[in-house]
């Protein structure tokens, strides 16, 4: 784990071992409340369709797996899953590449309007997806990118660049310059310094950016809802919303689909977790 080693003599915030039972209880309570709705979702995904609205149910009396194939085959859910993987992976790859290049410029070069350009990027942290959806819709229709997954990727990358650049810049700046100079003396050019030295040393920050970007793309709802018309181009969040009917909702299938859709985001987080905390603590937040 990314727990930073602390000198043995340094006591914790509360002194060594102080109030451990109390702290453990509160931590447990936080963890329980955090996972409860998700456990509930998993539980309900095993509930037969007929039982699902028949009273309060923290237990499943007749557990069944039938919701899973039902969810997977409903409205080509499998296709939406593949679409979402494609869109999210492409968004992460392009965002990490472009944000690293830009963050390297901000961290290591002195140039005119550096801070102005940086703040123009940062300004859009105040701009959510919904804000721009109408003009983006017009732009995409003019570029003939309405209804295309590539169009979604372009918008998602643009939306995820500012925070990624912000986080990476802070991390890159903390890497000692001497390392870079040694590298350059060996004749390495800028791109080589970035790809062979700075980026490998920045694994925690890159992992953090990847987690945030993957989830933002995986979870994105309103842009996909607005830009995608063709059923076979839908992404998972849209596919999930289709289970909600005006009159009856297939809750069992919805929850089974939700479990399937949750697995990749949790998997990505768990894979990146060992770098995650360090990525946040050494990034722009010091």
């Amino acid at each position: 784990m990314a727990r930073r080693p602390r000198p043995a003599a340094t006591p914790g915030l509360f002194g060594i071992k102080r109030r451990r039972p109390l702290r453990l209880t509160i931590a447990l309570a936080f963890a329980a409340v955090s996972v409860f709705p998700l456990l509930f979702m998993v539980l309900q995904s095993f509930e037969p369709p007929s039982d699902i609205l028949s009273g309060p149910s923290l237990t499943v009396s007749h557990p069944t797996l039938s919701n899973y194939p039902a969810a997977w085959t409903a409205n080509s859910f499998g296709q939406y899953f593949v679409n979402s993987i494609y869109v999210s992976v492409a968004t992460v790859a392009i965002t990490v590449a472009f944000a690293s290049l830009a963050a390297f410029a901000f961290a290591r070069f002195r140039f005119r309007f550096r801070e102005v350009i940086f703040y123009i990027f940062l300004g859009s942290l105040a701009v959510p997806s919904v804000e721009l959806i109408m003009p983006q819709y017009l732009l995409m229709s003019r570029l003939h990118l309405i209804d295309s997954l590539q169009g979604l990727v372009l918008i998602y990358v643009s939306a995820n660049l500012p925070f990624s650049i912000f986080l990476l810049r802070g991390f890159f700046e903390a890497i000692p310059r001497e390392l870079e100079e040694a590298f350059r003396l060996d004749g390495a050019g800028t791109l080589r310094v970035l790809s062979r030295l700075i980026m490998p040393l920045s694994a925690p920050a890159l992992a953090t950016v990847a987690v945030f970007t993957f989830n933002a793309a995986w979870d994105e709802f309103v842009i996909a809802l607005t830009l995608i018309n063709t059923p076979s181009h839908r992404t998972l969040p849209i596919g999930l919303a289709l289970f909600i009917g005006a009159h009856d909702t297939a809750w069992g299938a919805l929850f089974a689909g939700s479990v399937i859709a949750t697995v990749p985001s949790i998997l990505v987080y768990l894979l990146a977790q060992r770098w995650f905390q360090a990525g946040l603590s050494l990034g722009g937040l010091r």
Partner: protein, 311 residues
């Protein structure tokens, strides 16, 4: 392919000093080019395009006439009673969920910053709501708070002693409360990890010195611990206020702004005006106005918090 010299001893043709200098000046701009171009085309340009549209009575159909109407869209927005409700709801959402997320995040971080059995596991679990989908979370809570036999009604029935069938999401205040609850539940993990990183990284000798001097725990927190994680607090506050002003998905999916627009927030109303009512110019004016206000607030917030280290 460029021919590579075998022995590595042959002098490589060096570009002139002027060319090298030119390249050095151009390098940062070249590095910025991919991100900058994407950002300019897909974020900055739409922002200005929207601002432009807000001054016209604009129609989406090609060839339709789009007369210039000056500020009339803005005046329409400012006189719209739904905008007033939506602004108030957005403000309430911010005022309620931001402090709640920060306080709970800080408490959780304080519990976990020292050694604790299972620390890594608790940390991962508390962060999990952040990485789950807004769409999924909205539906789970809609189900927990459904009018028939949702878990919330079971608990209410148990407390009341008789069967309760509250339609939580169809009433103004309970609907708003569930929207807040979702926002807090999903957000705590985010401020938690940032506060945890800050607490883990802060020097412990000051706390120890204070404790030796006999300072009580509350005093230590007020005078030593909170001030030393101040940058993290400012960062979390600014980003959470921005995030709260952008509340959208759970409202859109759980209450659709109803009943009678009483749970609308600014962006659900803007989206509905654009894509349900096709009032594009109105939506453009409203969205531009929100963007300007949020941006101004964020800048002001950063300025005030930076200037006033005691506050």
């Amino acid at each position: 392919m460029i021919p590579v010299s075998r022995g590595g001893r042959r002098p490589v043709a060096r570009p002139s000093a002027a060319a090298a200098r030119g390249r050095r000046i151009a390098t940062p701009y070249l590095l910025l080019l991919p991100a900058g171009a994407m950002y300019a085309v897909f974020t900055v340009y739409p922002l200005f395009r929207q601002f432009d549209i807000s001054f016209y009575n604009w129609h989406i159909f090609p060839g339709a006439s789009n007369p210039f109407t000056g500020l009339s869209n803005y005046s329409q927005v400012l006189h719209d009673p739904v905008v007033r409700t939506a602004a108030l709801n957005t403000l309430l959402y911010t005022v309620i969920t931001v402090p709640a997320q920060m306080l709970l995040g800080l408490v959780a971080a304080a519990m976990l910053t020292d050694r604790l059995p299972g620390r890594a596991l608790w940390r991962a679990l508390i962060f999990i709501p952040v990485v789950t989908s807004w769409v999924i979370v909205s539906y789970i809570f809609a189900y927990l708070f459904n009018a028939q036999d949702g878990l919330a009604n079971s608990v209410a029935s148990l407390l009341a002693g008789h069967a309760m069938h509250i339609d939580w999401l169809a009433q103004t205040w309970t609907g708003n409360a569930v929207i807040w609850l979702v926002g807090i539940w999903k957000g705590v993990g985010w401020s938690f990890v940032i506060f945890l990183a800050a607490l883990d990284g802060m020097p412990r000798d000051l706390v120890e010195a204070g404790r030796i001097d006999g300072a009580s725990e509350p005093v230590l927190w007020r005078k030593v611990i909170i001030p030393s994680i101040r940058p993290a607090i400012v960062f979390v506050l600014v980003l959470l206020v921005i995030g709260a002003s952008q509340v959208f998905t759970q409202v859109y999916l759980m209450t659709q702004g109803g009943p009678y627009d009483s749970t609308q927030v600014l962006y659900t109303w803007a989206y509905q005006q654009a894509f349900t009512n096709f009032e594009f110019s109105y939506a453009a004016a409203l969205a531009s106005l929100i963007a300007v206000v949020v941006l101004a607030l964020s800048v002001a917030e950063v300025q005030v918090l930076r200037r006033n280290p005691g506050g």
